[in-house]
């Protein structure tokens, strides 16, 4: 559905209004999605403030230091590794769909290409592993 919207054929491209319409719609949704629940929640939830309630929630344990403390760099490394593979997964889907084509004539090449891509990521992952990025202690 989304794919078809962005790959309109050449004939359908008119002025800026029509061409960028899907983008506009996307923008509206992107803004509305986080803002709407907040506004709705403001009206729906009951208002009851207290000292304990304003305290940051850390799995039920009392916070020991301020929130602006320095975290160990390992969190970031794990986060980055997660991000890389997360984005990779998102990348795999459009790749597969586009290179599927109409007659599946190009799939083998596309598959090899994707394997190389994943291979490079795996090498990087292995490098990070080997260098001790995943060891916590």
């Amino acid at each position: 559905m989304l794919l078809q919207a962005t790959t309109t054929t050449a004939h359908n491209i008119g002025g800026p209004g029509t061409a960028y319409l899907p983008v506009m719609v996307f923008f509206v949704f992107a803004v509305a999605f986080p803002v709407m629940p907040l506004i709705l929640g403001r009206f729906l939830r009951p208002w009851k403030y207290g000292k304990d309630k304003m305290r940051p929630y850390e799995c039920g344990i009392d916070p020991e230091t301020g929130a602006h403390d320095r975290f160990t760099v390992r969190y970031y490394i794990v986060a980055m590794l997660f991000l890389i593979f997360d984005v990779e997964t998102i990348f795999l889907l459009p790749w597969a769909i586009i290179f599927m084509g109409k007659d599946f004539s190009f799939t083998l090449f596309a598959l090899i290409e994707m394997l190389i891509f994943i291979g490079i990521l795996v090498v990087g992952y292995y490098y990070a592993w080997r260098k001790g990025a995943l060891e916590w202690a």
Partner: protein
């Protein structure tokens, strides 16, 4: 669906055309793996492999040039092959090899992980090569990011040093800023080149063909301006140069040498490709294309004059050698811009090719003499970049004659004294500029050269004409750095006395505007 599907079924794949990039990329991954597994003596292993890969990549690009069958493109015009690309690829190879040789001593002193450094360097080189071979704005951006991210890390390679951290962070933030400008420019150009029947394009040659059919000329101009700012940041032209001195001063010296020579040249390669071929000189000056061309050319000429003047004048008051060389590198970007302006103003392919060749030659000469100077600055600075003040060079002339005389040679070459590479580089650039009628720009350049004499000579004076009061223990000259010095000194004289062969090679395959179907 159909547009993308059409390209997907015919991707115009030609792996031989990206052989140098492939070699460097694969070698980078290999070096990374070796670094992960090897234990002792790995410096020579990864360094050696890197140098072999770089030489192979250089050989591959020479081979591409030798088997010449006219300017070509592949991957639907995303990668092009012409002398602009080939000459710059060779410059990158030279720069990276010299960086490895210079860095060897430094890695030893500082006890840094060599493998990581070599892998990053190879990835950066791969990015630079992509920038030079890009026929499409997207590839330009891709190459730029590969290069930049590797360089950000290299700038902060001395993790325990605050100055290095500061340098890395500044470079990262301002570099990202520049990248954002560039990306925004690309997006605007894409939008502006859409016609009634066709979607926009990022292909440089196609952009040139669409200029007069643009539905939104202001958008086009805004996009070009964004690109100008983005590239201006990357090659550190005034008024976008302010980050350079801090970053160059704080970064480890071999990395500074690399940044001043390599990424700057890569920036020039893309910058010239995009503007000279993407927004070329137009026959009708009143058209959109003509207006765009006139705007960027005029802006660039002023930027060139400004860059030369700011770089040289501010360099005079510097008391730190690295900082002085940083400003000198700004000034040299200005001289190279003079040739760029000439290339932009050239009306026929032959003159354009000559101008592009002169810029490539200039950047090669700059790379050689700059790397040489930094090699010596690295040695004298010792561990932790301690001795980089001008006073640290007091009276060392006859105490470490080899270093001091070599440094003097490089400084004189940077100044543009005859018999050295710097002189020939300037002659070539100025010649093409005079040919296009930019006499005023050349006069400014020449006057700036005179200004630059003051600070280049200052270091020579300090080394030779002053007496040293404090004890001096001459640094040991490691084999690798000695080799780098031999290469750079030979290069300075060879390019200064017999530039003919290199010039002919650089100008053998004139770039024509490549248009795709």
């Amino acid at each position: 669906m159909s547009l993308i599907a059409l390209q997907a079924t015919n991707p115009d794949i030609n792996l031989t055309l990206i052989a140098p990039e492939l070699i460097i990329g694969i070698a980078g991954v290999l070096v990374m793996m070796i670094d992960a597994f090897a234990r002792r003596g790995q410096r020579w292993l990864t360094g050696g492999l890197s140098i072999v890969a770089l030489i192979a990549a250089g050989g591959a690009s020479i081979w591409l040039g030798a088997g010449w069958r006219g300017a070509r493109s592949a991957f639907n015009g995303m990668i092009v092959l012409d002398d602009l690309r080939l000459s710059f690829t060779l410059i990158f190879v030279v720069v990276s090899i010299l960086t490895i040789l210079i860095a060897a001593a430094w890695i030893d002193i500082e006890k840094l992980p060599a493998g990581e450094f070599h892998a990053l360097l190879l990835f950066a080189t791969c990015g630079m090569m992509l920038m030079a071979s890009a026929g499409d704005l997207v590839i330009v951006f891709l190459g730029l990011e590969i290069l930049s991210i590797a360089t950000y890390v290299m700038a902060g390679f001395r993790r325990t040093d605050v100055r290095s951290n500061e340098s890395s962070l500044k470079y990262f933030i301002l570099g990202s800023f520049a990248s954002a400008f560039l990306l925004y420019g690309i997006a605007l150009i894409y939008g502006a080149t859409a016609t009634a029947t066709l979607p926009g394009t990022t292909n440089i040659a196609t952009i040139a063909g669409r200029l007069n059919h643009s539905l939104y000329p202001p958008l086009l101009l805004a996009g070009a301006a964004m690109l100008l700012v983005g590239f201006g940041f990357k090659i550190a032209t005034a008024p976008f140069h302010v980050w350079t001195p801090d970053v160059y001063e704080g970064a480890p010296t071999p990395v500074t040498a690399f940044m001043a020579a390599g990424p700057k040249a890569a920036g020039f390669a893309s910058f010239m490709r995009v503007f000279v071929f993407g927004f070329p000189i137009a026959t009708a000056a009143a058209s959109t294309a003509g207006y765009t061309h006139k705007s960027w050319l005029g802006t660039l000429a002023i930027m060139a004059a400004l860059t030369m003047s700011v770089g040289n004048i501010v360099a005079i008051v510097q008391n730190n050698v690295k900082r002085m060389l940083a400003y000198s590198s700004i000034a040299h970007a200005g001289y190279a811009l003079v040739g760029f302006v000439a290339a932009g103003a050239a009306t026929d392919a032959e003159q354009r090719s000559a101008a592009l060749t002169s810029v490539a030659f200039y950047l090669l000469t700059y790379a050689v003499m700059n790397m040489g100077a930094f090699a010596i600055v690295t040695l004298i600075a010792r561990g932790n970049d301690r001795r980089t003040a001008v006073e640290d060079y007091n009276g060392i002339g006859f105490l470490s004659p080899v270093l001091a005389f070599s440094l003097s040679l490089f400084l004189l070459s940077l100044l543009g004294m005859p018999l050295t590479a710097g002189f020939m580089g300037k002659v070539m650039v100025f010649t093409t500029a005079v040919r296009q009628g930019y006499l005023w720009l050349v006069v400014i350049g020449v006057l700036n050269t005179a200004v630059s004499a003051y600070y280049y000579l200052r270091l020579i004076i300090v080394m030779f004409f002053r007496e040293r009061n404090t004890p001096w223990d001459a640094p040991r000259l490691p084999v690798s750095v000695a080799l780098a010095l031999v290469i750079t000194i030979a290069g300075v004289f060879y390019l200064g006395l017999f530039p003919g062969r290199v010039l002919n090679a650089f100008g053998a395959h004139p770039s024509i505007s490549l248009s795709i179907r």
